[in-house]
Symmetry: C2
Subunit: 336 residues, 2 copies
């Protein structure tokens, strides 16, 4: 385990000065073809890699993006992984690395990672309506990108999935299929209590859409834990007559099972639409007509913007929405 080579070693072997090595690597200055070869050969020979700490110190940029990840989240684990993976890929595509901090560490984590110059920018996931991180982010000396929208988004850069649009699309789909009554099996009450803000946003939009179409809407928050789905479903299906159309916002699989236990098949006896990832919608026994939450699109768009902010940190705050799109599969009876 010999000493790690430095740019000085490269310079010596290439017979040039240290700064020339630096310029060859950064391309910030024209270099003659000859000396470039010399340097590149020396780099290859030594398998030289610049020291990240030294580079960060001198260059004032770490080439690291930090992400605050809500490991305990109403998001499906599946959706969460998709977010994180896509963020990691987007970062690497721009020669950056990804630092993970847990949301449990609290708002102070933001100050810690940017104050300590561990990263050049931060992305914050699962933003809540009342989110202390909003205030912290405004005081940060580095760009922050929010996935989700806090109550007061002034000055912040937020990318958000269009939950309102999603709700409208889902309700409309059920109404269009002839349902005069719609029940939403929504996020856990805890999600709402924690201030996950897309819950009320989705609900309000669903109610609006239902009202516009003259269909009755029933909201049923499904608690976590086994049996909860059964219970909600029993409630929802208790009224005599045709079962209502169902909107499922999370855990579609469980709902399908519960229906099955009552000999109800989505797309045959009930109309069911879901808010889920495409993968989840397609993995079901009856592929679901669903609005995809597009975790990958959201991440990609967020990261693209974040890198623009790195070049232009003064860009004004704004909320950008990723549009909702409905994909028809087989869980809704076709009219005719």
């Amino acid at each position: 385990m010999a000493r790690v080579p430095t740019s000085k070693d490269v310079a010596r072997i290439a017979g040039v000065s240290q700064s020339t090595v630096s310029y060859v690597m950064s391309g910030k200055r024209p270099i003659s073809e000859k000396t470039r070869r010399l340097v590149e050969d020396a780099i290859a020979q030594l398998t030289y890699q610049p020291n990240a700490g030294a580079r960060a110190l001198a260059g004032r940029r770490t080439n690291v993006i930090a992400a605050v990840v809500p490991f305990r989240s109403p998001l499906s684990a599946h959706g969460l992984m998709a977010f994180v993976e896509e963020i990691a890929l987007a970062a690497r595509a721009r020669d950056h690395d990804l630092l993970i901090v847990t949301a449990d560490e609290g708002p102070g984590a933001l100050q810690r990672v940017v104050g300590g110059a561990l990263c050049d920018a931060v992305v914050v996931m699962e933003v809540r309506t009342e989110d202390e991180r909003a205030a912290v982010a405004r005081s940060l000396s580095r760009p922050a990108l929010f996935i989700g929208v806090p109550g007061d988004s002034a000055g912040l850069h937020c990318v958000d999935f269009d939950f309102e649009g999603a709700a409208a699309l889902l309700v409309a789909e059920l109404a269009g299929a002839g349902n005069r009554e719609v029940a939403v099996l929504g996020w856990t009450p805890e999600a709402e209590e924690r201030g996950i803000n897309y819950v009320p946003r989705f609900r309000a939009a669903a109610e609006r859409a239902a009202a516009e179409r003259g269909v009755a809407l029933r909201w049923c928050a499904v608690p976590a834990g086994q049996g909860a789905v059964e219970h909600c479903l029993a409630d929802v299906l208790s009224t005599p007559g045709a079962p209502p159309g169902l909107v499922v916002t999370t855990g579609a699989q469980e709902v399908l099972n519960a229906l099955l236990r009552r000999d109800l098949v989505a797309g045959r006896d009930v109309d069911l639409v879901a808010l889920s990832t495409d993968a989840e919608a397609e993995a079901q026994a009856v592929p679901l007509t669903a609005v995809s939450t597009q975790p990958r699109d959201v991440s990609r768009q967020a990261m693209e913007w974040l890198f623009e902010l790195l070049d232009d940190p003064a860009a004004p705050g704004e909320v950008r929405r990723v549009p909702a799109e409905l994909t028809r599969r087989r869980s809704v009876r076709t009219a005719g």
Copy 2:
């Protein structure tokens, strides 16, 4: 956005030298109560935070652990998140941060992150039998901790779940409940082809256990995609007579559903045991008798060891196994 304060600023305000500030923070030298207060007050007043790059450069340690994460993995997303979260928590508990790199980046990623001094150590997940990262790790100037065991583990530090023990426990449980025939619904064929080495290990151990107990064992690799489970199950249940005992290694929920569609309930008509996380086992309509893969235990043990290696990088390689334990729930008929 004023200039970020440095330890020099702290020193000036506290009326001490810069190195004293450093020693107050590191505790590597006794400091009088008086000057400690002075320094701490100055730190608080300026909200000073040491610069990570500078610290890494001077101190030769980054306080960062890198983890190679297999986002596309036969592990459940759920299990993967548990791994990553636990690694992040363990790192933070020791004042380190977590850098994520995707397994897709290949073995070169290891050289990149340690060669560039981005981290002090690496943890590698989802190790395969033929894993190029094993050779790379041996050439690294920093500790590497493998979660899983490559074919040649010489000189490596590996923590692994005891898949052999798990297989034995699961088969024994079914045999003990009176099943003379056992079918394993195993990982996808792709997992096996990719060289995920616990697949053959589990299989071999299952076969051994079955042979010892004189029960017939059938291995059925369940491909990814919808309908696959149905198909396998149809196959497995086609022989007349009592259905065989079932061992499910992944995606227990789907199997339960498929059974349900045939009016078969685990714990009533069939005996079923699973390899899964505790959370998954308990979330089912019929809580599953299962061996937990203990992602959190595995991560914790790995990280504990990793931090020991940080102090003693010369410690010899070794494979440590996290024991398998079976938890009885309600998916196996009790004898009597």
